[in-house]
Amino acid sequence: MNMGPQHPSTHGVLSLELRLDGEIVKECTPHIGYLHRSIEKIAENRTYTQFIPYTDRLDYVASMNNNLGYVMAVEKMLNLEVSQRAQYIRVIVAELNRIASHLIAVGTFAQDLGAFATPLFYCFREREKVIDIFDQICGNRLTYNYMRIGGVQFDFPEGISEKIKDFVKYMRPKVDDYDQLLTHNAIFLARSKNIGVLPKELAISYSVTGPNLRASGVKWDLRKDEPYLVYDKFEFDIPVGENGDSWDRYKMRIEEIRQSLRIVEQAIDALPQGEPTVKVGRILKPSSSGTYFRTENPRGELGFYIVGDGSAYPYRLKIRAPSFSNLAVIPELVKGSKIADLVCVFGSFDVLMGEIDR
């Protein structure tokens, strides 16, 4: 049976070739590439600044984090240190975007389990608040293109700090609502507990990252383990799962929303004054025989491997997309389960075709 590329729960244009025995999945082969835009080839023909809008289109629900990963990789090539204020701003917007992205993950997961649209609408309602904030900060609602090499595009506008603080206050009870509506719901538990159990060793071997890895019980978060920006100045916990089942993966996202709210709250209180941007030349010509930089994206570790030959264009730019590795493990997990479980496992991994196909 062909599941996708046009199917309600393949999160984009993934095609799964299934061999079924009644309802039982015997074999699952993903076919990807329907959204392939050869962004890596395009990168070789764009200047370093021109490529920033393209990173928006990788993981289109967490554009800020993609922007951040890319500009930080270029800054690493240039050995550029950005100002404190820019670093704080980056942390705030990245964490807000993480919340927005996890909200979509939670909503679509509930949708996949058949909770008809209601949790999804609640999540979108809350996400709208984040988007409104971003709209004020950077002028766009989905493809932000906010980060710049050497800082951020605009400084925070007037009154945005209060708005973010209001959002944090607004968001906390909503997360509790999700707990009531979904997390401890008996049907939800029955559907997702012990489904698609991903053992620790398998997760590491498949290079699964992000919340999916932490759900398997590995305490590994780049924000704590290889702190970039000013993440080491904040107090936050890393939620770790126990079984590595679908419910744990979902739970990680709910908990990370809570932790991100904590980070945002601390960062907005400690936001220092200063210039948000370091002046860099209009045309950058960094050179490197290979620079790799990875950041913690909502979906896992996003890495940029950039080779520069001293010209205005990158010689080679490789995007290590977290969903790409996360997808690889799914066929192994769904063998022998039912179609309904396949949808559940797939939803819990929260893969996004935009960055898999690039």
Partner: protein, 145 residues
């Protein structure tokens, strides 16, 4: 054996709590807007369609150079040391609304308007001549009259 009814009751209670959440929102006011009747007003920093202030433009070609998708095209003529604009073509189909042109413009001639209703019936309309388009309000077909 004792666990079986206990789990059953806990499960039922969790379902009732879920119902309580949805009932709570049933009586809360709605958050959506009735789109064509009520519209979201974009703030000034919103990056909508590209607009041009022809008096300010000094034909430096910076915007054309920075554009990642090559959607801008300028033609100019030399008139006693001063360049004047002849055409300023803007291909909306290619535009990715990144705002780099606005950022790079030294005189603030190129701006991003806050118009977000950008669907038209004729594809040719996307090839916009920025010098001739006076008001975008008349350009767009989306607005329900």
């Amino acid at each position: 054996m004792i666990n079986y009814p206990k789990n059953f009751i806990i499960g039922a209670w969790s379902l009732i709590k879920g119902l309580a959440v949805t009932l709570k929102y049933f009586f809360k006011p709605v958050v959506t807007l009735q789109y064509p009747d009520e519209k979201l007003s974009m703030n000034d920093s919103y990056r909508g369609l590209v607009g041009l202030n022809p008096e300010k433009c000094i034909v430096c070609n910076q915007c054309v150079k920075i554009c990642p998708t090559a959607c801008l095209a300028i033609a100019s003529r030399q008139e006693d040391k001063k360049k004047t604009l002849e055409t300023f073509k803007y291909n909306m189909e290619l535009c990715c609304f990144c705002g780099l042109c606005q950022q790079v413009c030294p005189t603030g001639a190129i701006i991003m308007t806050n118009i977000y209703e950008i669907s038209v019936y004729d594809r040719k309309k996307f090839d916009i001549d920025l010098l001739n388009v006076k008001k975008y309000d008349e350009w767009t077909d989306t607005t329900v009259k």
